[in-house]
C-alpha cells in the first residue's frame, strides 16, 4: 500500500472487493488491472496501490503460474538447484494513471520449487549489524539461494525472520511475503498460497 492507517485499509478492502468481482476475467490479467484501475480512478480516493496478480494451476507434479506485477517488486523463483530467478513481469501501479500497462509472465514450478512474492518492506528494512544498511535485494536473493527445496511456509518464515532480525528494533513498512510452491515428493500438499 502507498499509505497507512484507515484510508489504506479502506482502499485495500475496495481493491479486494473489486478483484473478487473481476475473478471470472482472471484469464486476462491486463484486463483485470485495467478495470480495477478504472474503478479506483472513478472513486474519490487519491491513493494508489501496487500488486502482483497470480493465477495458479496445478499441472501434474508441476505448478503453472501467470504473474503480473503492477508497480510491485517482481516475484522471485527459487529453483530446485538453488538458482534464484526474477520473474520478468513489470507494469505500472493502479489507481494513479489513466491506463495501466503491464507485462504478464508465465512460470512453471517443478516439484519443490517456490515462487516468492514480497513487499518492499522486506528489501527496505534498514538495520543490520552496523545499524544503517538496507536489507536489499541481494541479501534476499542470497537467503533464497539457501532455501532450495524448502517447503513454502519454511521459506516465508526464514525470509521474515532474517528481515526482522536485520531490522532489530527499528521501525518498518509492511513486511509481507507469500510463497507459492509446487509440492516436493509427497503428493498430497496443495500450493502454499495465492494472491
Amino acid at each position: 500500500m502507498a499509505g497507512k492507517g484507515l484510508d489504506a485499509a479502506v482502499l485495500t478492502g475496495k481493491i479486494r472487493n473489486t478483484l473478487h468481482t473481476l475473478l471470472p476475467l482472471a484469464s486476462d490479467h491486463q484486463q483485470v488491472l485495467g478495470l480495477l484501475n478504472g474503478a479506483l480512478l472513478t472513486s474519490h480516493h487519491t491513493r494508489f496501490a501496487t500488486m502482483v496478480l497470480a493465477s495458479v494451476k496445478r499441472h501434474g507434479s508441476d505448478v503453472r503460474l501467470r504473474l503480473t506485477s503492477a508497480g510491485h517488486m517482481p516475484p522471485l523463483v527459487v529453483r530446485a538447484g538453488g538458482g534464484v530467478e526474477e520473474v520478468a513481469t513489470h507494469g505500472t501501479l493502479v489507481g494513479a494513471l489513466p491506463s495501466v500497462t503491464a507485462r504478464t509472465a508465465e512460470v512453471v514450478l517443478g516439484p519443490g520449487e517456490t515462487c516468492l512474492l514480497y513487499t518492499d518492506g522486506i528489501t527496505e528494512a534498514r538495520g543490520g549489524p552496523l545499524g544503517d544498511e538496507l536489507f536489499g535485494e541481494h541479501r534476499l536473493r542470497r537467503a533464497l539461494a539457501e532455501c532450495a527445496g524448502m517447503p513454502g511456509e519454511a521459506i516465508v518464515e526464514r525470509v521474515q525472520m532474517l528481515a526482522a532480525q536485520w531490522l532489530g528494533s527499528g521501525s518498518h513498512d509492511d513486511m509481507a511475503t507469500v510463497a507459492i510452491g509446487a509440492p516436493g515428493r509427497a503428493p498430497s500438499a496443495v500450493p502454499g498460497g495465492q494472491v
Binding site: P129, L130, D132, R142, M150, A154, M161, A164, G184
Partner: protein, 356 residues
C-alpha cells in the same frame, strides 16, 4: 500397551530419516504407526517428535546439515505434530476438563516449536489453550489476557537475548493479575533467569509445565517494576550497551581491520558475517548485564566457539574480538568484567593459537 510396539529409539530413527529427507508422508506415517501400536500421543510428541527436533538443532550446530535443511526439517516436524493431534482418536480417553491458559513465545522469539509442543500436550490433558505462536508482541499478549482471563500465561523463550523483553512480558501479565510460567532454553538450564525476572514458576519441559499447572498456580500478589527485580540496572550499563550497539560493532570491526590487514581483504559477505557475529556478542553482553549473570555471556561464547570450530573457523578470532571490545567498554565496570571473563573462559577451552 502391546509388548511389541516400536521402541522410542526406533521411532526417533524413523522420524529423523523422514524429516531429513524432507518426506512429510513418511514422517507422518512413522508417528501414526506408533500411535496405532499403542503409543500415547503425549509420549509420541515428547519422546519422539521433540527428541528429533532437538537432534535437528544439534546437527545444524555441528555443521552436519545446512540451515535450509534445518528449516525444512522443522517445517515437516511441525506438520507431524498437526497430523498427530488432529487425527480423530477413537481410543483417546477424554481428559478431565481443566482451565484456560495462554501459550506464547516472547516477542522477537522465532523458535515456536517448544511452545507448540507445550500447547498440544496441555490440550491433550484437557486444558483450553490459546496458542499465540512465535514472536507475539507483548501488548497483544496482554490484550489477550484482558479478553480471556487466562489462569496462566506460559511464556516460551529459546534465545537468551530476548530475556529483557521476556521480563517486560512477565511484569505486564502479572500486572493484570495473570501468573506466568516461564520455560525454554533462554531461562537457563535450572530456570535461574525465570526466577531473576520474577516469573511465578518455571518448568524444564512440557510435562513439568503440565505438573505445575495441575498443582495450581496462585495469582500474582504484588505489582513490581523492572528495577525492583534488578536493582543493578540503576548503573545504566545495560541501556548504554543497547543504545550504542551499532557504534560498538563498527568500532570493533574498524579496530580489527586496522590491526589485522588480512581482514581488509575479506569480501563484503565475510565482513558482514564478522559484523553479525560481533552484533551477537554485544547482544549477549547486554543480556548478561541485564540479568547480572556472567553465564549468559560465557554460555553463548562457548556455544559460538563450538559452532565456529565445526565450520573450521579458529576460536582465537573470537578472543581477539573480545579483546578489542574490552577496550571499547572500559568505562563500564560490569561490562568490562564480563568481556574479560568471557575471553578467559574461551582461552581456557582452546589450545594456544597463532595470531590471526
Amino acid at each position: 500397551m502391546s509388548g511389541i510396539r516400536a521402541s522410542a529409539a526406533d521411532l526417533r530413527d524413523g522420524l529423523w530419516q523422514a524429516v531429513i529427507e524432507g518426506s512429510e508422508h513418511d514422517a507422518v506415517d512413522v508417528v501414526r504407526a506408533g500411535s496405532g501400536a499403542g503409543w500415547e500421543e503425549e509420549d509420541l510428541l515428547l519422546d519422539v517428535v521433540a527428541a528429533v527436533q532437538e537432534r535437528i538443532g544439534a546437527e545444524w550446530a555441528a555443521d552436519r546439515i545446512t540451515v535450509a535443511r534445518e528449516h525444512a526439517a522443522t517445517a515437516i516436524n511441525e506438520r507431524v505434530i498437526t497430523a498427530l493431534v488432529h487425527r480423530p482418536a477413537a481410543h483417546r480417553t477424554s481428559p478431565p476438563r481443566r482451565g484456560r491458559v495462554t501459550v506464547s513465545c516472547v516477542d522477537g522469539e522465532w523458535h515456536a516449536f517448544p511452545a507448540r509442543l507445550v500447547a498440544e500436550v496441555l490440550r491433550l490433558r484437557g486444558w483450553q489453550v490459546d496458542y499465540l505462536g512465535a514472536q507475539t508482541p507483548t501488548p497483544r499478549l496482554v490484550a489477550h489476557q484482558h479478553r480471556t482471563s487466562s489462569d496462566a500465561v506460559l511464556l516460551s523463550g529459546s534465545v537468551p537475548t530476548h530475556l529483557p523483553t521476556a521480563h517486560a512480558a512477565i511484569t505486564a501479565c502479572q500486572a493484570v493479575g495473570v501468573s506466568v510460567l516461564a520455560g525454554g532454553r533462554a531461562f537457563g538450564r535450572d530456570g535461574r533467569y525465570a526466577r531473576v525476572l520474577g516469573a511465578d514458576a518455571w518448568a524444564s519441559d512440557a510435562r513439568g509445565a503440565a505438573a505445575v499447572l495441575e498443582a495450581g498456580l496462585p495469582r500474582p500478589r504484588t505489582i513490581r517494576q523492572a528495577v525492583d527485580d534488578l536493582p543493578h540496572l540503576a548503573d545504566q550499563e545495560y541501556t548504554t550497551v543497547v543504545q550504542s550497539r551499532s557504534r560498538l560493532v563498527k568500532q570493533v570491526l574498524t579496530e580489527l581491520e586496522d590491526r589485522f590487514p588480512a581482514m581488509r581483504r575479506h569480501s563484503d559477505a565475510q565482513r558482514e558475517r564478522t559484523a553479525e557475529d560481533l552484533g551477537h556478542i554485544v547482544d549477549f553482553l547486554a543480556t548478561a548485564l541485564y540479568v547480572d549473570d556472567a553465564e549468559v555471556f560465557t554460555g553463548f561464547l562457548g556455544w559460538t566457539a563450538e559452532v565456529l570450530s565445526a565450520r573450521g573457523v579458529p576460536v582465537h578470532s573470537l578472543v581477539t574480538g573480545l579483546a578489542v571490545l574490552a577496550e571499547q567498554v572500559h568505562d563500564l565496570p560490569r561490562g568490562l568484567r564480563l568481556v574479560r571473563g568471557g575471553a578467559a573462559h574461551l582461552g581456557g577451552r582452546s589450545a594456544p593459537a597463532a595470531p590471526v
